[in-house]
Symmetry: C2
């Protein structure tokens, strides 16, 4: 496995791979890797070679007062885990390599970026879309792997790839959870021991509506109330949003139909957590995937 | 020569070209071709194969009330001229092929897009940057050729290519002029016979400061006044702007230094025209290229 620090070196590798018509797979990460990230590498191994994992804590997707400075960093451990998982190249550029002086171009995916995470984190998805496009241009992957835990991000990246005619297929991979249901996240490292119980309330809220939906509930207002009630029961949790939206438009729905997402975000202490469930129509029933 | 109507067909050709490590050259046009466009093809022929010319009148770079509907179209003649010039593929998609329902992604090059043309044509450069990026993604050219008549556009595309790490080198080609100095433009077809004299006032304004600069004038305020006076002398011309700016930042300068651009825009009758001159420092002197 090779660690690549510069755009030009990475580009040279990408050019050779595409001249050889190889199926490059990209797993973009901000490091602080957990089993969720490694599941993306395992997915990439099914059909891609070479596999490139990027490690770049992207300053442009953090807002003022967010956790850019203290975002967990564990480069040596990450590199060892990626090598063990079968990655061929780790692309780990510096911020100045990605954003040289005078950088001024941004990508916006209008209509999907403003609500939910975008409302709580203005500019976040502009930063995400811009850096992901840059990574795609540098690595030129035929497949790129994203976790479905960041459901809105996944939806926005798919839209960007379609709209800009990118020659990269976006693959969404299932959420990986701790034994107690907590969705794996690098930010879980911030949680204090006494907050851990409250942190699982997002998962428990989603589990509660899974039970309701499987019992026949279709009324979104009532399902949203169920989710909010579970999170509100935790003293150390502060709900940001819990709502069921159309999976395509990310707009609120009144009644379950086609494919929906139940999205929940909350602060637990000072740690902001998100989680979601995919709600898919199958004939007369709905399946809920956590 | 082949005419390609769909993104998927064009992408297939591009994939084969890059798998063969060929140097694809792209000449993006809106059709209504003149010698300026053909000079871009000639430049591409110096080192590129295959050469792709696109013909697409991009609705997103026209503002409300601009000339999208009546923009000159001469597809059969354009195709014949491109074949004659040695183009291998003409990419001529429909608007719906480029902007399918639900399209919502935009690219902005902040700080270079708001002044000059951008002030008179809000959103214009967002439309240009977005469609050019899409064409690059579809055609995957190693070189793309743009006329320097659209100096601000050329500067913005170069910035976008650098900022987004595009694997496409932007080549700027000299302005091609009519015998009377008028810069070639598809919009010259709008000019009435009696407006033709006034239309050359942009060229004459630039020629006047070329003479002044070669005689030693360095004061930009005085040079700007010279340009404005030449255009103002024409009754049927209405000046939009005439100013000398830094070629890199496109910000106004007080005194000639390094590389500058003299940019001029005016309405002649109902036709909006632009022109420019490149002012380059060589030791103690400046050369002015019209």
């Amino acid at each position: 496995m090779e660690i690549v620090r510069t755009v030009e070196w990475m580009r040279q590798i990408a050019r050779e791979a595409r001249a050889g018509d190889r199926l490059t797979g990209l797993v973009p990460t901000m490091g602080a890797l957990h089993e969720g990230h490694l599941s993306l590498v395992h997915a990439a191994r099914q059909g891609c070679s070479p596999i490139v994992a990027s490690i770049f804590v992207n300053p442009k997707q953090f807002g003022p007062g967010e956790d850019f400075e203290k975002y967990p960093r564990s480069f040596e451990r990450d590199v060892a885990a990626l090598e063990e998982a079968g990655v061929h190249y780790v692309f780990a550029p510096s911020p100045a390599e990605i954003y040289p002086a005078g950088f001024r171009t941004t990508v916006d995916v209008a209509g999907l970026s403003e609500r939910l995470e975008g409302r709580s984190r203005p500019g976040h998805f502009r930063g995400v879309a811009t850096v992901v496009l840059k990574l795609f241009e540098i690595v030129q992957p035929r497949f790129a792997f994203f976790g479905r835990k960041d459901a809105q991000q996944h939806r926005i990246i798919r839209q960007m790839a379609a709209d800009l005619n990118l020659d990269t297929q976006i693959v969404g991979c299932p959420i990986v959870r701790e034994p107690d249901g907590l969705a794996m996240s690098s930010r879980n490292a911030y949680l204090r021991r006494e907050e851990r119980g409250a942190a699982t309330s997002l998962y428990r809220a989603l589990s509660a509506i899974k039970t309701e939906i499987e019992a026949g509930e279709r009324d979104v207002t009532r399902l949203n109330t169920v989710m909010r009630t579970v999170v509100a029961a935790e003293r150390s949790a502060a709900l940001d949003y819990a709502e069921i939206v159309d999976a395509d438009s990310l707009e609120p729905v009144m009644c379950l139909r086609r494919t929906c997402l139940a999205l929940v975000a909350a602060f637990v202490g000072k740690t902001r957590l998100i989680d979601n469930a995919l709600i898919e129509e199958f004939g007369d029933t709905f399946s809920v995937t956590l």
